[in-house]
Each structure stands twice: as C-alpha cells, then as structure tokens.
C-alpha cells in the first residue's frame, strides 16, 4: 500500500548544487526589503537577503521498491477486524493558480549555524494565566473579565456577571462617551442605542501603511537578523557547538530505504556517545517513546524497513487492547455538539473533555503499538500548536486533536494547516473570532506566518501581516464550531509574500483565504521550516543543513505529504549517524520510564475504586498528567503558541531532573495503584544473577537495553555498597529500587 511515488535514484543528489559553496553575498538568506537603503541603520549592519529559493526542479518520478507494503496477517499480529477502512482521500478541487514564489536563488542557501529561549512566546492572554504554577483551568479561577459575546454558556447568570464585569470596566472609563464595544455590550444586554461608528483613532491601524515605521525591524521581523525560533536560538550557544561537533555534517539518501541507510559506511556516528550504535535501538529511541525488550525484539525480527512500513500504516496495527481501555474516557468519542449538550453534566461529574484528550495522548505514548504515529502527533502538536486549556477548551479542544492533528499527522501538511484554520480551537486561541472588518485582529495572521508556515525569517513584512489579517476576516466561530461570517469579511485586493488575490466578494473571502493557506503551506520557506523542525525532533538539536535541504525538497516534491518527507529523513545517513545526540525532555523521560519498566494498564483486582465518574485507568492517567505538569511538560501543554522547545539546552533544569529521578523511584515502588507493575526484584527475570556485578549487567540490559561502561557499573555497585563478585539476593540485598533508579538516572536513559 504505497501512497506516493518516491523519487528515483539520483534525485536527491545536490538539488541545489554544491551545498558548501558560499552565496554571492557574505550575509544571510533572504531578500532585503523594498527599502533599498537598508544596508545599515544607525551603525548596525543589516544582513542583505536574497529572495527565498524557488521549488527545485526535480526529474520526473518513477516507482521504486521503497517503502515495502505493510504485511498483514502475520501469525503474531492479526489485523483487527473492527477497524474501518480509511476513506479515500478527497481530491482537492482545482484551485486558481497563484503566482509562483519569488525566483530561485542563484546560489544555494547556506545555513549559518554560527555564533550566536528560553522565552516562550506568549499567546493570547485569555487562555493562559502564568508559568509559575497557577492553574490554567479557567473555570477554577473564574476569569472575571472574560466576556463571551457569543453567549455560549447555558448559565446565563454567570455569563451576565461576566458581561457586567466587563461592562463595569468599560463604563467606569470616561463617563462622557461609551465606546463602541461598550455600547454594543450594553445594547446586547439591555437593549438601547445602536453602537456608534468607531472613531478614526479607535479603529484598527490597517489604515496606516505597515511600512510606516522608521525602523527596519518595525517594518519586517527578519530585517534584524535573528535566529529562526527558540530551538535555533538555544543551540546558538557553546552547548550548541558541542552538539554540532557530534552531529554528521553530510550524508546521502539510501535508495533502498532506511535499513540500507542504517548500515551505510556514511552512517557511522562522528562522535563517541553513551549510546552505542545499534540501529534497532536507535530507531526505537527516535521513532517511539522508548524501547522495551518486546519492541526491540520485533524490530530485530522483522527488520527496520518492515517495521517502519507497518508503523507508517498505523490503521493496520492492532491497538485494540488500548482502545478498550481508552473507551473508559467517555468523552473521546463525542462530537462538538454532544460536548456542548453535555457541558453542565460533565462539569458536575468532574469530567473534563479537554483533560481527557491530554490523558489519552499520555496513554497512547506509553501503551500504543502505533508509536510512530504517536511521535508524529506529538511533533505536530508542538509545531501547529494550540494549547490544551483555554476558555472554551472543554468543548472546542478535542476536535482540534481529532480533526486536525491526528487526522493528518501522517497525511499531508497543507490539508492539516487548512483544517486548523477551519477549527474553532485555533480561531479562539489566537483571537481570529474577534477579528472583524472594523476591528481587525492580527494575532492569528501573524502566527500563521511566523509559527505555522514560513517562519520569522520567511521574509514577510508587517504589511504582509496586515494584509493577511484583512484576508482572514470573517473566519469566526458559532456554536463552538468554525463559521464564516461573510458580513465581517473585508474585501479588497491583497498581496501577501507573493500571493495575490482580488478578494472582491465577501462570500468569496473564505476560499480566498484558503487559497492563501495552501500557498503558504507549500512555500519553500515552509518546507525549510518543517524540515528543520522535523530534523530537530528526530535527528539532532543542531540538524545538519545537508539533511534539512533533502527533507525540504522531499516535502515540496511530494506536495507536502508527510510519509515521503519522513521516509527521506529516515533513509538519510545523517539520521543513523546521530546516535545519542538527543536528550529526553521531561515528558519523554517519564514515558520512557513507564515503558521500560513494563508498567501495564490493567487495574489490579485489589484496587478499590471510590470514584463513580472516573475509572481507575482514567484516575491513573490524571495523576500522570499532573506529574508531567509539575515537570513542566505534558502533551499540548505549552501555554504559548510556539509549542515546547525541542532542544536540550532549554530543559536543563536541576529541578526537573531530580523530580524525574524521584518519579522513577516512585514508579519502581508502584506508586499509582491503578496500574500493574513488575516487582523490581523480577525485572531481570525469575532467576537472580549469580553476582552483584552480573545483576547490574542484567539490569542495565533490561532497563536501558545496553551495557554500562566498567566505570558506570562500578558507580552503580557503590550505591548498594557491595562488591562486583559478591552474592546478592533478588532484592539486591534490599537495594534493588535504589540500584534500578540509579540506572534510570544514567545518560543511557536520558539520551535518546
């Protein structure tokens, strides 16, 4: 079952010519803005920029043998009969031809990693309180100012109070004149005068030319040469230099696929790492949430290519055991309308659909057989990010998970991006539903460019941001679902980063914006940004330019399909040569610990459930979510729209590490009685090894799937205070949990 035709041999060789050749100017990648005098400003030299590269001219494709079709009906992996067949992908309607992107560069771009996040970008305030630990559940702390002009809630007295508070704040302003928003609210609540026309000064500034600022940086974000995002910024430090040194700088794509790439001489790691170069374990570390003995056995038995082929067709993988447990999370299968209807009942019962989405993701990370899908879901959750909890998330957020991220995670990004912009969660989160033709809100328009497609270095100007905001007007929400309000759409021709559209009818504005979204999704800067992000997640915190180029080209050549893009990355020797260079983030560390310890989702018979509204499994998942929250990372948890940082420098926190080590000990002690645990003394099997040294060896193989160095082994033995050759019982003379926890605190478990 191939979904695409991969390019023929030779297509990947040097799509841009010699990648090491320097560009014609000494500075960066992007064209200077129209302002010709931007070589320097007040003494600061500004990078000259060339226009974004055009789509590479690849030869026509012919089928190859990769990927192999997934094999169904293997004796030990039956295909679940209950899984419905995937519907045929709808054919996209023909679109008006957009003008091509700016002309290709004469010289190839050279990504300058050189010298050179901490701070998450803040998103809309109404959906997050702060990062110091205050609960982001808006319903526990009633956000007194949160007026809801669409009156979603059935609780009218609560809504009235909220509206009154807001009105109070409006009314207590200048006594003389009620401003337009105030008048609107007043008439909504009490009847009364129609809203007055907004004054010129109170109007949105789209009347002002966006390039009116004196400062180049005020006109265009990329005029001040910056890192592309938080990941690149963090790695522009000395720690970044070290990882860069350890990461392969060049490589090739193996035509026969990942397994061939894994054993290619070019795939040899360029740096010694705490993780030995075992391809199966490397694959498990990168493309799953953590190796287990069973998983490694499977990869070794059927081979890398077959395993990946299966994983890339997740619908053919039996996940029925987990699905049965997930059925206990009763809201997962509900539609938006059902969640609206159930809102009060859920609230009374302490059922939170937005929490259940997070908890289901946690369960899948730990227990799903469809690990590659889950890795990609997490990747997209950080890239096309809508935070988990915001005002209205209980009804709106689950749809984003199902209908945007999970639906397209292994499909294609243009469809995902369009679906996102048709989803109430994103429109709410970034204020699009507040944007009307008289008061244009630019938040989503900006982040569509900066975070979800071309990136801050993509070359867009403030004029582009404003034009995009104009084009997006009318896209709104009704009944917690996407709804297009033509009467709120501002017409007029737009030009945004080379995309033009007459935008001459309000009714046609919806399609015009979607044409624009598809244009952005297939922009070369988007291909580059997705490639960099994917390579950062899967290869190295400092991904090599050679790999980024190939992955970006694959994205464009396949029209934004994710499987060929991912397969190109996995077929690249750079991927296989980057062993041990990634570090587990707190959530990943915790999940990998659950996995390697073989914790099972079955509830022990002895567990007494006292909660009528939540099954033991759900209660256990909630606890894990809260622990992850404490550690600073849970699925979709980042409050700001840029998602969690993906590089280790951001996460170097002694607090988090100690907390993680402590939690490893707690899991070894079976701290959440809703799950089933392996007795620590049984981790290495029924037979206790003959000596303490052999026991440590066996534990290392069992927990981190490789041997420790002699020095490491000696250090672990010191925890128990016994000699290598001494005899210990199954409990390691009482120290088994301390010893096992120490191994789980090793670099072999922190690195991946």
């Amino acid at each position: 079952m191939t979904h695409w035709d991969p390019p023929p041999p030779g297509a990947w060789d040097d799509p841009y010519g010699d990648p090491d050749r320097q560009p014609e100017t000494s500075a960066g990648r992007h064209a200077a803005p129209d302002d010709a005098a931007s070589t320097s400003f007040n003494g600061f030299a500004l990078g000259q920029r060339k226009s974004d590269w055009g789509t590479p001219d690849l030869p026509a494709r012919t089928p190859s043998t990769w990927p192999p079709p997934p094999v169904s009906g293997l004796p030990n992996r039956p295909v679940s009969p209950s899984r419905p067949a995937l519907p045929n992908r709808p054919v996209s309607p023909s679109r008006p031809v957009s003008p091509p992107p700016p002309p290709a560069m004469a010289a190839p771009p050279v990504w300058n990693p050189g010298p050179g996040p901490g701070s998450p970008i803040s998103g809309n305030r109404s959906h997050w309180v702060d990062q110091s630990g205050v609960d982001h559940r808006g319903r526990i702390i009633i956000d007194a100012d949160d007026i809801d002009p669409h009156d979603r809630s059935a609780d009218r007295s609560l809504n009235r109070r909220r509206a009154l508070l807001a009105l109070g704040t409006v009314v207590t302003g200048t006594a003389a004149a009620l401003s337009p928003p105030g008048l609107h609210l007043f008439s909504k609540l009490f009847g009364g005068p129609a809203p007055a026309a907004p004054t010129k000064d109170a109007q949105s500034h789209d009347n002002l030319p966006g390039n009116g600022s004196d400062r180049p940086a005020g006109r265009q974000p990329s005029a001040a040469r910056t890192y592309t995002d938080q990941n690149e910024s963090y790695m522009g430090s000395t720690a970044g230099d070290h990882v860069r040194k350890n990461t392969p700088k060049t490589g090739t794509v193996a035509q026969a696929g990942p397994a061939q790439a894994a054993v290619s001489p070019q795939a040899k790691p360029v740096a010694v790492s705490a993780l030995g170069a075992d391809p199966a374990r490397h694959l498990a570390n990168r493309l799953t949430f953590g190796a287990t003995p069973e998983l490694l056995a499977e990869i070794n038995r059927i081979g890398i290519d077959q395993w990946l082929g299966n994983q890339l067709a997740p619908e053919t993988i039996d996940d029925s055991k987990l699905d049965a447990k997930l059925a206990e999370l009763t809201t997962l299968s509900k539609t938006v309308d059902q969640l609206r209807a159930d809102r009060d009942a859920n609230s009374k019962a302490g059922i939170a659909p937005d929490q259940e989405i997070v908890e289901a993701a946690i369960a899948r990370q730990i227990w799903s057989q469809r690990q590659v899908l889950e890795v990609m879901v997490d990747f997209w959750n950080d890239f096309l990010h809508v935070t988990a909890f915001f005002d209205g998330s209980d009804v709106q957020r689950p749809s984003f998970d199902k209908d945007v991220i999970r639906k397209y995670a292994l499909d294609n990004y243009p469809d995902m991006f369009v679906a996102a912009n048709r989803n109430a969660a994103l429109l709410n989160y970034l204020d699009q539903d507040q944007s009307t033709k008289n008061a244009i809100n630019e938040n989503l328009a900006r982040e569509n460019l900066e975070l979800f497609t071309v990136g801050v270095d993509g070359g867009y100007t403030e004029v582009d941001v404003r034009q995009a905001a104009i084009l997006q007007t009318g896209r709104s929400i009704k009944d917690d679902k996407y709804f297009y309000r033509a009467d709120q759409h501002k017409t007029g021709p737009v030009t945004i980063m080379g995309f033009t559209h007459p935008n001459d009818t309000a009714a046609g504005g919806e399609k015009a914006a979607e044409d624009y979204f598809r244009y952005l999704a297939m922009h070369p800067s988007t291909a580059r940004y997705i490639a960099v992000s994917l390579a950062t997640r899967l290869v190295s915190d400092t991904p090599p330019q050679s790999l980024v180029d190939k992955v970006a080209a694959a994205y464009l050549a396949s029209k934004g399909q994710i499987k060929p893009t991912l397969t190109t990355l996995l077929s690249s020797t750079e991927f296989w040569g980057s062993v041990g260079q990634k570090v587990r983030r707190p959530m990943e560390y915790l999940v990998a610990t659950y996995r390697t310890l073989g914790v099972r989702m079955d509830t022990p018979a002895a567990f007494k459930n006292t909660n009528a509204n939540a099954s033991p499994f759900l209660q256990g998942l909630r606890q894990i979510r809260q622990k992850m929250d404490e550690l600073g990372q849970f699925p979709t948890g980042q409050p700001t729209p840029n998602g969690y940082p993906d590089v280790f420098v951001a996460w170097t926190s002694v607090g988090t590490m100690v907390n993680g080590w402590n939690e490893a000990y707690n899991i070894l002690s079976g701290n959440r009685p809703m799950f089933t645990y392996v007795n620590p003394s049984q981790l290495v099997g029924a037979t206790t090894p003959a000596t303490a040294g052999a026991y440590v060896d066996a534990l290392a193989q069992r927990l981190v799937h490789q041997a420790l160095t002699p020095a490491q082994k000696a250090a672990v033995l010191e925890v128990a205070g016994v000699a290598d050759a001494s005899t210990v019982d199954g409990t390691f003379n009482g120290a088994i949990r301390a010893v096992a926890r120490t191994i789980l605190a090793s670099p072999q478990h922190h690195l991946r």
């Binding site: 901490g118 704040t169 207590t172 430090s237 705490a274 090793s746």
Partner: protein, 453 residues
Amino acid sequence: MGKHSYRSLADNPGEALLRAEAELVDRENAELRDRFHRLNTMEEEQQDGRGVSRRRFMVGAAATMTALATVDFSYTRAAFAATPGGTLIHVFLYGGLDGLALVSPATAADEDILRAARPDLLLPNSGPIALDRNFKLTAAFAPLSDNLKAGQLAFIPAVSDLRLSRSHFQAQDACNLGGLPAETGGVGFLDSLVGLLGDTNPFRSVGVGSTLPRSLVGKNGALALSSVGALNLNGEAKYSDATAAAIGKLFTGINHPLEESVMAGLAALTKAQQIAAAGYTPANGVTYDGIGNSFKQLAQLIKGGANVRVATIGMGGFDTHEDEGTQEGGFLFGRLAELARGMAAFFKDLGDKAADVTVMVSSEFGRRVAQDGSGTDHGHGGCVIVLSGKKLAGNLLGTWNGLSTLDNGDVPEYNNLFDVFGTIAKGRFGLTDAEVAKMFPARTFKNMEIFAP
C-alpha cells in the same frame, strides 16, 4: 458589601448598579482565587515533606561532600579577588506589556491623545498613584505603595531598542541576548553578567521555572528549578548520597554537553537539600500568591545563604490583543496587581536582605497607543519597573518627550533597553562601563540616572 452612594460609583443609577454588582462578583472571584492559591500552597508544602526524613539525611551529609569532591566538574573559572554580593532579579513579562496601562502621562496634551486613541484602556479613575514628572501609576500597584514612598520603586517609560521587531520570539530573543545573535555570540546577557562577576558557587545563576530562559544560557551553568523544596532525592536515606555520587560518575566523560548541566545540578543539590531541610516560613507575616510563589523560591534561597547573584522569573499572559482590561477588575489590572503583590511580599519577606537585592521587570515590547477593539497590538516603547533595596534617583526616570509624535502609532524609544539594563547591573554590582559593554556588544553604552547618588 459596604454602602455606596450613587455619586461615588457613577454618574447615574444604571451605571452604579452595574458597578455595584461588578464589585460583588469580583469579590467572590477573589475569594475563590485565594482559596485556590491557599490549597496550592498547602499542596506544595506537603510535597516538601515527602520522602526522606530530614534528620536522617543530615547525618549522611558529610559523606556527600567527600563523594562529590571527587567528581570532575568540567567548568573552571578564573579566581577573582573578591566576589561581590547582592542579587539582580530579572522578571520577564511575556507577550508585550502595555506600558501605558501601568504608568500614564498626566499632562493635558498627553491625556487628550490617550482619551482619543484608547478611551477604554485608560488607567482606572479611582486610586491612580501620583508619580513624579506628571505621571500617574495604576492603582493595581497599590501593594507597592510603601516601597514607592521609601524611594525603592521606579518606572522608566518608553524603553525599547531599534532592533526589536513585532515578532514575540525575535524581540524576546534580542532582549535576552542583549542584542542580535551575531553580535552577542549567542550568549544571554545575564550569563555574560555572571561571567563578569566571577562567582563560582552553584546557585549564582538561577531561573525559576522548568525551562531556562535564554538570558541565562551561555557559558556558566545556570540552574532552573520550580521549587527549592523539591530538590531532594527520595528513597531510603542510606542510599541518597551514594546515588547522587553515582549519578555524577555516570555522567562523567559522556561527550555530550548534558554532562555540564548535570554536574552543575548535582553541585547545587547538597546546598539545596540543606536549605530545603530547614523548611521555609516567610517572615513578617508575608503570604505569597500566583507569581509570588516564584519570588518565594528566591527568598528561600537568598535567606538560606545560597548566594544567588542573578535570577530570572517569567510571567506570561501579557499579549493583550483582546479584553485587555486596564480598569479595576480587568484582566491586565489583575495581572499587574498579582505582580505587585508578589514584588511587595518578596521585599517584605527579605527584610534587611532587601538592601542587596534589585528587581527589574521588562517585556519584549510595549503596545500601540491606539486601541484595536478591546485590546492592543504589538508596539514598540514599553515600561521597565525597578524595585531596589538601594535607593533610586526618583520614581519616574529616563527621558520622556510626550506622545505628540509617535513612531508609526507606537510609543517611541526615548530610552534604550540595554542602557537601562546596563545601568541597573552597574549600580547593583559596581561594574565598569567596559564590563557593561561586554554584556551588550555592538553598541555604545550610555549611563542613565537610575540609582540615587
């Protein structure tokens, strides 16, 4: 609820009724908030008590020192003659704080401009606090009134840098680096400062939170932590020291920069466990809520003798595109009030030690003067807040040339952000101009009048 006359609430009964009801709801909400925060604090305190019995642990402390001494800490520092004391804390407000919602010029001309451009986003009519130079301060900052009177609190309006764009990420990064990547070599400005101070103790550089802010990332190991009390290895006490020592050995020579981070963390662990073992009760009847809990961690470290030189706190939610709410009961008012409470509690808790502490609060940019719907868009000139145990030169500092000429609708840059940061760092630690220039390369540092002579 107290008695309110029509006159004091509003001009007419209708509005007065609204105001009265609004106040009632606000009070209920505040009670709920307090209750939640109290529960939160209680839970945190319970967590402090988890795990090892403190008395048993202290017995093993001596062994830990020896064990850790053999661990190879891979960072080395040149020895300096004297390590200056004192602490500089940078609070970063993420999202772009609307400076005009915090301090507002009160001249007739400027007020006319504000009334016309942002009629719904003015300072609350009731209770604005008068500042020098015909400025006023939002009533949200009432918790800091005592500090204001004591000359410890100051505001610097119209602060920015020409290289800051309207992108959150780009502007935050430039603020945190002290310039652009190529200029700063990718080193955070606070990390540069730590390097200049030459302090070698493990807690010299602390970020409160689970991720490290970019300003602390560079060459000197910074620690990120959310809770001092949680810095404590659990499990049976008799294995604790050996475990910490073993982890250090496990990470020795792994050829990955994670090693440095782990070693820095382990070096801090002993001291942290001593401080955590003592528990923490704020002094002077102080209670902390919300962002105050981050300040509380720093208070615990500073009073516990951890020798924190540079620290950061992050507070989000300032990207007020809609429902900005500058009036009492409004969203931004509430955020600012929470910040003020945290800062006031922190200084009161520190007591005498506040003399050596300076807190500076900034954001990546300000917001446009004109409102856009019920909120504002990304702007340029913003406000910096200084709270300092060392007396300040006034409470409204820097240059101010009014709002009659805007920068494309934004508050202009009348004061440069890095001049502000540099002057504060200089005043706090006695740096030379040349040293400050190292923190902010590629520009000429200009001293400002911030501290009293």
